[in-house]
């Protein structure tokens, strides 16, 4: 049971089954929010997809190791908010560390064109192009837009995740929407095919 091949003492067994039960809960929590968090990191924060996986795994393990009793006691959206917040922080930290080493803004990312509809890899290209569109928004606006619209967090939870005030959340959302409308007006035709 322990994986070490030693027979486990009864007390250990009790602890172990409690831990396993907790792991089961966390696994549910993980499966439930994972996809939204990934979307938030990639779409809302601009995190590269490979890094997003790392961040998701690291932060859920950190929560498991240290914060689960606390997170578990929170109401459901707030518990998810806790994870999102940790992930956002973690991403920002990684960004800064990387920024010290690299020149940012790899131009190739911006040079992605819009794919021909018949293109086999069009889905990938469209995804990139959509990310580019989001990239046009300032960081906070993008994050708020994502958390409110895609991840369905309340204003209060969004404010909690980003450590900003509820008023700022509203403002950012409004501006982000305006900006997106503007971009849609500009590039709308490109997206008709995709959305229909």
């Amino acid at each position: 049971v322990t994986g070490h091949g030693h027979p486990a003492a009864p007390a250990d067994l009790a602890l172990l089954s409690a831990a396993q039960a907790a792991d089961g809960e966390i696994a549910l929590f993980y499966a439930e929010h994972r996809s939204r968090l990934r979307g938030f990191l990639v779409g809302g924060c601009g995190c590269p997809e490979a890094d997003a996986e790392d961040i998701i795994q690291d932060t859920i393990m950190v929560i498991r190791q240290r914060y689960w009793p606390k997170v578990r006691a929170l109401p459901k959206p707030a518990a998810a908010a806790y994870w999102f917040r940790a992930a956002e922080r973690r991403y920002h930290k990684l960004c800064r560390r990387r920024a010290g080493r690299l020149i940012d803004g790899d131009p190739s990312e911006r040079l992605v064109g819009i794919a021909h509809p018949g293109d086999q890899f069009a889905a990938v290209d469209r995804r990139e192009a959509l990310k580019d569109m989001l990239r046009e928004l300032p960081r906070r606006q993008r994050q708020v837009l994502w958390l409110r619209l895609m991840a369905d967090f309340s204003e209060a939870d969004t404010a909690e995740i980003l450590c900003i005030s509820v008023g700022s959340v509203k403002k950012h959302l409004n501006h982000a929407k305006e900006r997106m409308q503007e971009l849609l007006r500009k590039d709308g035709a490109t997206w008709e095919a995709e959305v229909r």
Binding site: G3, D23, G24, I26, A27, L28, Y30, A31, E32, R34, S35, R38, G39, V42, G43, D58, I60, M61, V62, R64, Q65, R66, Y67, R89, R90, H92, K93, R96, A99, G100, I103, D104, R127, L130, K131, L134, L137, P138, R139, R140, R142, L149, M150, C163, I164, S165, S168, K171, H172, H175, A176, K177, M180, Q181, L184, G188, W191, E192, E194, V195
Partner: protein, 478 residues
């Protein structure tokens, strides 16, 4: 096409690829748990991450706490750390705090950062800064080759060398030549014609330019006899916010010091509205010209802006190049301690003795620290000769003294010429009855009024002389 349509499109595209079942995710997670449980190193790593997250949270909470308490001293460093980490609204809060304590230039940088993050409140703030009148700067036409500055004004050319600095930004960076050569050419061009006495280099040592600059020191040292004053103002790594804050501080220092050429090694520079790249500009310091606030943006360093560069330069603390002010009496007056005085009941013989001993032309006569008149050497001599060289011992200066000329400290020197010729001494009045100083004919002739020199004041920290070159390096690695 509406936001909602886009929303669904985004949701489809950017979330997990379809087919990742919950079941599978849970299994993966439990597997990962087992791995972690058997790997102490991994546990340590996760602990470290948790510690970092905790530290961030605590720091920001403390910063907010200090702000709400109104404790600016405590809040500033905390907020700075948080803002650098991009936490919450730290950039916005820090900018406000800095504005409050009067550090407008740095406040602008943080407002800019907040704006970049999407905080539109910052745009208003920045606009307000931009609207403030700038005392000296305005932009004039491209300077002509050779830069003969018109006699009635001083122009400051700015050479902007881009990231491709070895190439062609600004007409002094010579295509195909090395940066050091370009800079030397700039200095050559500047030096003989306009009396420009130095070349200043602002760069970021973290960037590629630093190596070029090192080359330049050598080139300057080996080839050139004339002094080129150089300065790297920016020291820390380019990405860190420290870079910009130290740039802001140093630029203020820069602005207080004269420089003929300001060389900005920035990756890309734009005008304030970012509509057009800058290549070459000069500032006109002539008073009374239409003023314009000028901004440089450095595009590539994590979107940090040395935005206030133009403003700081423009704010015009270029003392040495300022139009020369007419000297005033305060510039040359002697402090009261250096001038002997007599009392109304001092005898004439005593007064004569003091005048002769001090070598002065006249003595102020003081009563309870108030100047009641002056007694001049000429009057004393005339009186004594009238009495055949033997004045009565009882006679005091009271009988001989004449009313003192008393002027305020900001009187122009030219206005008191006649009075000083007549009286030999002039009293400078302070806020109360006490004199703040005296002006004698000697002091006018021997003291150089401060503020009339076009040379810079000695810096607090002596510059580093590059051995064997005569070149001076200021603050290179501060």
């Amino acid at each position: 096409l509406s936001i909602e349509d886009l929303q669904s499109a985004l949701a489809r595209i950017l979330t997990d690829p379809p087919g990742t079942a919950d079941e599978k995710l849970r299994e993966e997670f439990l597997q990962a748990c087992r791995l972690v449980d058997h790997d102490p190193r991994e546990q340590r790593r996760l602990d470290d991450i948790a510690d970092l997250l905790d530290a961030d949270e605590t720091l920001y909470a403390q910063a907010l706490d200090a702000v709400s308490r109104g404790d600016k001293h405590a809040a500033e460093p905390l907020l700075r750390q948080c803002a650098e980490a991009g936490a919450g609204e730290a950039a916005w809060l820090l900018a406000q705090l800095l504005e409050d304590i009067g550090n407008a230039s740095e406040a602008m940088i943080w407002y800019q950062r907040a704006l970049d993050d999407g905080d539109v409140r910052a745009a208003e703030k920045l606009a307000a800064f931009g609207a403030q009148p700038c005392q000296y700067a305005s932009i004039v036409d491209k300077p002509q080759k050779g830069l003969a500055a018109p006699a009635d004004r001083c122009t400051f050319p700015i050479l902007v060398v881009g990231r491709d600095g070895l190439g062609g930004v600004g007409h002094l960076s010579i295509p195909g030549r090395r940066l050091d050569h370009a800079l030397i050419s700039a200095a050559e061009l500047a030096e003989p014609t306009s009396g420009i006495d130095g070349l200043w280099v602002i760069t970021d040592p973290g960037s590629d330019h630093h190596a070029s600059l090192d080359d330049m020191w050598h080139a300057v040292g080996e080839d050139r006899a004339y002094a080129v004053q150089c300065k790297t103002l920016l020291t820390s790594r380019s990405r860190a916010q420290k870079w910009v804050s130290s740039r802001a501080l140093d630029l203020e220092a820069l602005a207080r010091t004269p420089a003929g050429w300001l060389v900005v090694l920035a990756d890309s520079c734009y005008t304030a509205d970012k509509s057009r790249a800058l290549d070459w500009h000069s500032f006109d310091y002539a008073a009374g010209k239409p003023r314009e606030v000028y901004w440089f943006a450095c595009g590539d360093y994590d979107r940090l802006y040395p935005a206030n560069l133009g403003r700081v330069v423009g704010a015009g603390q270029w003392n040495a190049r300022r139009p020369v002010r007419e000297p005033i009496v305060a510039d040359v007056m002697l402090p009261p301690s250096e001038v002997p005085v007599c009392l109304p009941d001092t005898t004439l013989m005593e007064a004569l003795e003091w005048v002769v001993q001090s070598g002065a032309q006249a003595l102020p006569v003081c009563e309870l620290s108030r100047v009641v008149g002056v007694v001049t050497l000429a009057d004393l001599a005339r009186h004594i000769s009238d009495h055949l060289g033997v004045p009565s011992a009882a006679e005091t200066v009271k009988a001989l003294m004449r009313p003192a000329t008393i002027v305020p400290a900001d009187t122009p020197l030219s206005a008191i010429a006649q009075a000083i010729a007549d009286d030999g001494i002039i009293v400078i009045s302070g806020s109360d009855d006490r004199p703040v100083g005296y002006l004698t004919a000697e002091s006018v002739l021997t003291q150089t009024p401060a503020g009339t020199s076009t040379r810079p004041a000695t810096p607090d920290h002596p510059p580093l002389l590059i051995p064997g070159t005569g070149a001076v390096l200021l603050n290179r690695d501060r």
